[in-house]
Point group: C2
Chain length 146, copies 2
Amino acid sequence: MSANSQFTTAVHALCWIELAARQGESPITSERIAESLASHPVLVRRVLAPLREAGLVAVGRGPGSGWRLGRSAERITLREVYTALAPGGPFALHAHDPKPDCPVGHGIRPALTEVFADLEAVMARELARHTIAGLLDHLLRTYPVG
Amino acid sequence: MSANSQFTTAVHALCWIELAARQGESPITSERIAESLASHPVLVRRVLAPLREAGLVAVGRGPGSGWRLGRSAERITLREVYTALAPGGPFALHAHDPKPDCPVGHGIRPALTEVFADLEAVMARELARHTIAGLLDHLLRTYPVG
DNA sequence: GAATGTGTAACTCTTTCAGTTGCACACCAT
DNA sequence: ATGGTGTGCAACTGAAAGAGTTACACATTC
């Protein structure tokens, strides 16, 4: 396993915030979200912090306060979640520079960087097809609890 | 950085094997490949081993022996390299299971698994557009040494 | 049989990540 | 204003993954 699970955690949290809102519970605390994740409130805040910067969620501070979606769930795509979290993609170049006097060693990095940029682009396009609302509806319908 | 650099190392090695072959040096040893990578022969063998299983490269053992492409460089795609190396994708679900009695916690994993499978598919399609020969020609032409 | 080369397991070192603790700050109610 | 509730963030811990390295067994050529 070569990736972190922040994207999964973030999507889970957003779906949960939306579901809670549909049930009239909004805003919702990090504590409540952490319960569903079987995790800790600090992790929830850590993951949600960049989403707050991106305007995907809004947060209040006092008692009875907590997290709320920054806009309607129909207009939050997984692409926005992904880019808010991952400035760099899941692809890594060499751990250290290869020999620059070798023709391959000299050109492989920029060449692969182009390939990786194309991969990021098609991934982003695919992620943009899914919204939080769509994903939540899908999982509630396709994988009902019980 | 959330990914390993094995894919980069493998593509680098394959390009180098092909370039050496074009220059009449074939097969080529792990030692020679490791030089260009500024790495170690053992790492080269570790990365190339699964490619050998997939038939992308062939290897001999005695003196004057080493690595050779398993088929022509025009017919080895980056997709094959990727799938030979990464049985699991770069996307991770939760570190541990979420609460199954929560509707979101119950359905989020299978739902996101579907999304990740779609992402793998579009990535594979994009990677299939590139071959070792094409990549090598491109980097030699676009990024000439000196 | 000696030299060359791969195969692989085991180890170290570093980095990264999830998990955790602690404390400062903000907000609301009384 | 005061105490309870909640987020913000820095720092620490423990576990896991990965690159790099060593060592040794095995295969092939001469």
